[in-house]
């Protein structure tokens, strides 16, 4: 990843277990970037757009997003990130969720999601998928975000 500035991974995932498994498997893939974990959409959005140490004010980020959140739908967060004029619209968003509904998948890509991954229930596959995501993250180039105005 970007050597000059550590890319922050922002994970918005309401299930603590899933978050822990994702983190473990990303680490196993050799990714050591900081992971910021939020269990609901509100706090996730606040961190993304407002926190001084958050990506809107402070460097490049990659978002791991679950769609089924207690307080809002993940697609709302996605549309906020990818909205016209958003400081984060170039930030890659990986939707990582249990939903494999075709319409939902289409909708996410329409909204500007970069990668959509359905969490396999089978753990071996799940672990393999996350590790591959980790490998993917290790080669991905994340654009520098525009300076906040």
């Amino acid at each position: 990843m970007n050597a000059e500035q550590a890319v922050n991974i922002v994970m918005i995932e309401d299930d603590e277990g899933h978050a822990r498994l994702i983190e473990k498997n990303i680490r196993r893939a050799g990714i050591s970037n900081p992971i910021h974990h939020f269990v609901d959409g509100t706090s996730g959005l606040r961190f993304l757009f407002e926190a001084p140490e958050g990506p809107a004010h402070n460097g490049p980020a990659l978002v791991l997003l679950d769609l089924n959140l207690p307080d809002m739908s993940g697609t709302d967060i996605l549309s906020r990130i990818k909205a016209e004029g958003s400081a984060l619209r170039r930030a890659p968003v990986v939707v990582l969720t249990t939903t494999d509904d075709k319409i939902e998948i289409q909708r996410c890509y329409d909204l500007g999601c970069n990668v959509y991954i359905t969490k396999p229930v089978n753990y071996e596959n799940f672990a393999a998928a996350i590790r591959q995501l980790g490998l993917f993250l290790s080669v991905i180039q994340v654009p520098d975000l525009e300076e906040p105005k």
Partner: protein
């Protein structure tokens, strides 16, 4: 509530039919009565005419008698005056006319004793008169006053009897004319009475028919109103059912999704646990290799047997749960899939379904026959494929051990519906499980084949969605026949 007005209506209908029939019969009776009386009056009239005619005939004869008498007198007078060449021949002619007339009257009045007596009398007197006339004409000496008076008296008597006869006949005629007028009057009265009755019957019939038709109209309107409300009720009910169905589909979808998340954790951390057992086992092995006494037997048992066993059970259970959740998801997704009806060649679909299972069919040596007279229908291709595929798959799966499998796919059209049958000679289904096998996660018979009890539930859900039904006929060890009843032309869910 529904039965009472119906019987009332029936009774009214019967009453109406009876009344109308009665009125019509009454009308017919009256008309035939009038006809009969007209006929009777006509017959009587003819009789009367004959009688009147008879009277006139008698009168003519009586008048003939008087005329003949007059001729006799004038002939004698002519003779007396010496005109013998003129009247000598005329007298016998006049006498024979007189007797002929008297005979005529006798013939005509054979049924009238009064006239018969008069005829007797007039004949006797005519005989005497004839004798007197002849004598007066034979000898000129006998022209005495006495003889003259005798002749005049007799002639007057004959005249009188003739007049009496005439009067008798005239009286009879008057009586008969009166009788005739009476019978005509009776006829007119009967006719008038019949006419009035006919008018009454007609009015009665019209009134009854009008009342009945208005009742009929009323009930027809009532029926239409009921039909309308029924349609509304059906539409409302359909909407309710659709809403309920959608609700269930959404519920199934959400539940299965939400169940998946914790399951990922259970499986994930079970895997982590399993991974953690390996170093523990290695540790126990190392310690044991160094000094067997250091390892407690409980620790050894826990690490070597209990932990792997527990993890194994958690794994198989979660895997099963995963399959069930996937099944629910599949069903709910199937329920939300939109149906696209199109004209289908059922034979081609059945053959492609069989071809897709060809590998297993050949492996097990099963014979599958697809009837070449399967009807075409308009329905959802994927739905029909899945129904047939599931049924054939089941038939192949649940064979009777030791009996070569035979599967037959047949179809026909019945009252605008397509009946498809998939029959096998497999192990069959116990009749008490016939409903149960269509329930989700329920299976029947020996559980020696893998499966979750989803296939038939899926098939039934599909059949319902395609506006059809499915049923099974089967006995243990005697094979099973699944019958699918579908509309020949699927109409959209909105217009159903």
């Amino acid at each position: 509530m529904m039965a009472a007005p119906q019987t009332d209506e029936r009774q009214a209908e019967r009453r109406f039919a009876r009344t109308v029939l009665l009125l019509i019969m009454l009308g017919f009776g009256l008309v035939s009565l009038a006809g009969l009386s007209a006929f009777a009056v006509m017959m009587r009239g003819e009789e009367q005419t004959e009688l009147v005619d008879h009277t006139y005939q008698v009168e003519r004869q009586v008048i003939g008698i008087r005329l003949a008498l007059e001729q006799m007198r004038s002939a004698r007078r002519g003779f007396a005056l010496g005109l013998r060449y003129d009247s000598g021949a005329a007298y016998p002619e006049a006498v024979s006319t007189l007797f002929a007339r008297i005979d005529g009257v006798r013939r005509l009045t054979r049924d009238n004793p009064v006239q018969q007596r008069n005829v007797e009398r007039i004949e006797r007197m005519a005989g005497t008169l004839d004798l007197l006339f002849r004598r007066s004409m034979e000898s000129s000496e006998i022209r005495a006053e006495r003889a003259e008076r005798e002749r005049q008296r007799l002639a007057g008597q004959v005249e009188g009897v003739a007049s009496a006869m005439l009067a008798e006949e005239r009286g009879l005629l008057t009586k008969r004319s009166d009788a005739r007028a009476d019978s005509m009057m009776l006829f007119y009265i009967v006719l008038g009475f019949t006419g009035v009755l006919l008018v009454l019957v007609g009015l009665g019939s019209i009134a009854v028919i009008r009342r009945y038709t208005s009742e009929l109209k009323g009930s027809r309107e009532e029926l239409r109103r009921l039909a309308d409300t029924l349609e509304d009720a059906v539409a409302e009910r359909t909407t309710d059912l659709q809403r309920a169905n959608e609700e269930i589909q959404r519920f199934a979808y959400i539940v299965s999704h939400d169940l998946r998340s914790p399951l990922v954790n259970v499986m994930g951390f079970t895997a982590e646990l399993e991974a953690a057992i390996a170093p523990l086992q290695a540790l126990v092995d190392t310690v044991e290799a160094r000094d067997a006494g250091l390892v407690d037997p409980d620790v050894r048992l826990a690490v070597r047997e209990d932990l792997p066993e527990a993890v194994g059970f958690i794994r198989t259970s979660t895997q099963k749960m995963d399959r069930l959740i996937n099944a629910i998801l599949r069903l709910s997704r199937e329920g939300r899939r939109s149906i696209t009806p199109e004209p289908l060649d059922l034979g081609a679909i059945a053959r492609s379904v069989v071809d897709a299972l060809r590998h297993r069919i050949d492996e097990l040596g099963v014979t599958v026959t697809v009837s070449d007279r399967l009807p075409d229908l308009v329905s959802d291709r994927l739905g029909i494929e899945q129904i047939l595929s599931n049924l054939v798959e089941n038939a192949v799966k649940y064979l009777k051990a030791g009996r070569p499998g035979e599967i037959r796919i047949t179809g026909r059209i019945e009252h605008g519906r397509v009946i498809i049958q998939v029959a096998d000679n497999g192990r069959g289904i116990n009749p008490r499980d016939h409903e149960r096998v269509f329930d989700l996660f329920r299976r029947s018979g020996e559980q020696d084949q893998p499966g979750e009890g989803i296939g038939l539930a899926h098939v039934r859900a599909l059949a319902y969605r395609l506006q059809g039904t499915i049923s099974v006929e089967s006995e243990l060890d005697k094979g099973a026949t699944f019958t699918i009843n579908l509309p020949a032309g699927y109409v959209g869910e909105g217009s159903a």
